[in-house]
Subunit: 345 residues, 3 copies
């Protein structure tokens, strides 16, 4: 059985990565090239010129058409050659085209059966372009199975150890989490009351013009949806104002946005970011939070890559499934169900 | 079937690379060491000391003899040990010696059956040490099957795309090439008339004291001879003076010199250079042309290496054989014939 | 048959490498983590957290206990989990613990059957903490079978070639060595009389306040003991004072200390050093000798790594076993006997 479903949408790139040059990127073991057409819409193809096998991603985009950089073959967005200097191209073999859509500031691609691709199933991002929200994020390439990142994000007790100086605090370990699973969603949540805010959240409070030296309530609501999106509602409120339900004037409330895309079976593209619901117009604050989050999330990378190396070295060893792992275990159950359904048909 | 013939001469090094130290280099999957003997002549051996397997290329040359740098074994140019401190060496196993010759500014090696090596078959280089000619060149290591470079050089339509800012121009694409093949030679040629000269050729015209802003005739005559030499007559003449046949006073005429030597099945040593038949004593011009050509030819490397990566990833995919590919296709036909002949015997 | 015995002690680290952080290191193909317990004693475990497979070497040491850096699991020195926040750990699978001991300034580990580990069999280092002796050393990682280093150290004729500018001199080649083997020891020795001292030894003579421009007697007594320790008595004495047996006032006398530990079948950890029996309190001299030796010994690394590459490329080729190789050949015979004995049981 494979390690990921393919009849689904994955984030392939951040919108700003795709300018007027083609972008080569492997997604779910498929070597792809992405480019923008004349109307700005995105196309995705196999990164293979049918003429001599050159990577189309080394080419250029001319008036919205992808041109091979080796001998000038012009490729259509459907994978059929449009033209080539001095050649009749009708008989050229087609390359595979992949459904691709730009939405919510990302490029989404459907690596599986194109006939089944439905843009309506791209998960809505309510914070995108909303006047109450601001977003900043980035991309990491990680040499680990994408599911190790899902595990990581669905069990935040690791914050106490991996991110001790920023968002970790012993109260996370001390507060049990609660995990629920419906057919296609797994939620694990933790609510902490009357605790000190750790450094990252103290800075966020100050960024929102709130006192940072008073007790807070803190929440973490991790929500996995397949194939590999983890949205985490996070924040702190001054204690005594209702916690998660406190009015915006007494809290800092954000959503950690995670799109985790398999590159290969043991490597991933990790799109991370934070959508916040305070001071949305403060661009300096956006940059500051983005930098802080980028630094924190980079702390996970060595751990995951060396965890992957260990698992590859000892493939026969089972892992423990503790209560704190229930989120990741539930997420893998959903993933396995999706893969099995694809395999059956 | 292998990817290259072995009963033939390949260029292994430029003469100036081989000073008074041994040179280790893999040629046609054989790990070799080259060195100069007392009379300056070249010897080539397996890079393996029969004592403990140390690479002889880490040793030194003492009075024209190759001495292992580990324990002082002195190796003869025939692969038989000459001496070793305190040892009788008569029973030492021999290592393989390879025919090697220095000629035309290069070191040539014969990787196959030594009994068949005939120095008379080393291809003549008429430009070498000729008073009317000057030469400059260099060496690139390329992680691609050497035949991809043959293809590249036998189809110069790629200049329009890969070398757009130097030697490329749309007229190359617009002018059909003509390809002819005899038993052991493939020639593909293109003649363009009354066109603007691209930047590289404008500079060459100026270097020869000619106007660079007038229409020119341009020619490209690519000549493949096995195993993997591609000589390309190139140049431009002021239009109206006879083109390729114009007198030297109205043109710039050069030969692109390409010796392409397999290192392994998917890597190569690419010896490139340009022999020019104008201003042969102008060493500054030689350096300038060499630098320009080196920069232009380096533009092919990423393309070929990533093309190779694509072909290795999709080995089952056939490549198109268009009219522009006739030169490369013909060259591979000759190569395959040579390999088949070797395999048969 | 394997390449190394496992029911024996190997040096895994220098004492100063192991501070208050865990140290990850592969020894004999086993991926291990070392750390200091509360009393300073050393523990060694598989570098694998039973919870999710994270490497424990990325964790920290808290009050002498090893804590996983991912989710805070506390591992005991016996490989059984001690505790984990919010968890009952009684049923957690154990990881393997390895006997480990700190002695003579090094961390020793027993990669094989723990029941057979006997600290009494750690080889005594008479120079350690002895008022007449001083020691300086270092560690090199070498991409070669550890036995190639044993060969290297048991045949010092290579000094003439690899270390020509420091300890090499033609008299080494000219003076036959004598090799003797008992059941578990191989000794190869060479005594040279009335020769000039090479640069390294001239500096040592000066360091001991002795004239460096007079003829000397020089000795090299290489002693291999399994699994892979080579101690080499080396030194020079002013000629005419008894050579090896000269009084300390007329000689410089040292022991080259070599512990060679397999990392994998084709890579090693090479712990090198020099214990000297002159001016033991002169720390500047210790530093100077250590730097000189480190530079000299680094000259072997490229040779051994490329020798290994050659042997891996031509695995079917036998190596010569000359008289100068008798030390290494004898050492391998002992090693093979040890491995065979382990395999038999």
């Amino acid at each position: 059985m494979g390690t990921f479903p393919v009849n689904t949408w994955y984030v392939a790139a951040q919108s700003h990565e795709l300018g007027n040059k083609p972008l080569g990127r492997t997604i779910c073991n498929a070597k792809l090239v992405f480019y923008r057409q004349a109307d700005g819409s995105v196309a995705a193809l196999e990164d293979f010129c049918p003429h001599r096998g050159a990577p189309l991603s080394l080419g250029r985009v001319c008036e919205g058409q992808l041109m091979c950089g080796y001998h000038g073959l012009v490729m259509g967005c459907d994978g059929k050659t449009v033209s080539m200097p001095g050649q009749r191209v009708g008989g050229f073999p087609a390359i595979r085209a992949y459904p691709a859509v730009e939405r919510y500031g990302f490029i989404w691609v459907w690596p599986g059966d194109a006939a089944k691709a439905d843009e309506a199933t791209i998960p809505q991002q309510h914070w995108h372009n909303h006047p109450d929200w601001a977003f900043g994020g980035g991309l990491y390439h990680v040499k680990a199975d994408y599911r190790l990142m899902v595990d990581n994000l669905m069990d935040l007790t690791h914050e106490t150890y991996v991110h001790a100086s920023s968002i970790g605090q012993p109260e996370i370990d001390e507060t049990p989490c609660k995990t629920t699973a419906s057919s296609d969603e797994v939620v694990t949540s933790r609510f902490m009351h009357n605790i000190p805010a750790p450094p990252f959240w103290r800075a966020a409070l100050r960024g929102n013009g709130l006192a940072d030296d008073v007790p807070v309530d803190r929440w973490q609501i991790c929500r996995f949806t397949p194939p590999s999106q983890v949205m985490i509602e996070v924040g702190v409120a001054h204690a005594g104002h209702g916690g998660y339900n406190a009015p915006d004037s007494h809290k800092v409330y954000s959503v950690v946005v995670d799109f985790i895309t398999p590159e290969t079976d043991t490597t991933m593209w990790y799109f991370w970011g934070m959508a916040r619901k305070f001071k949305p117009k403060d661009e300096a604050l956006t940059a500051q939070i983005r930098e802080g989050q980028g630094k924190i999330f980079s702390e996970d990378l060595e751990m995951l890559e060396r965890q992957q190396a260990n698992l590859s070295r000892w493939p026969e060893r089972g892992l423990l499934k503790l209560n704190i792992d229930a989120g990741g275990v539930g997420a893998r159950r959903v993933i396995d169900r999706w893969i099995a359904a694809e395999t059956a048909t």
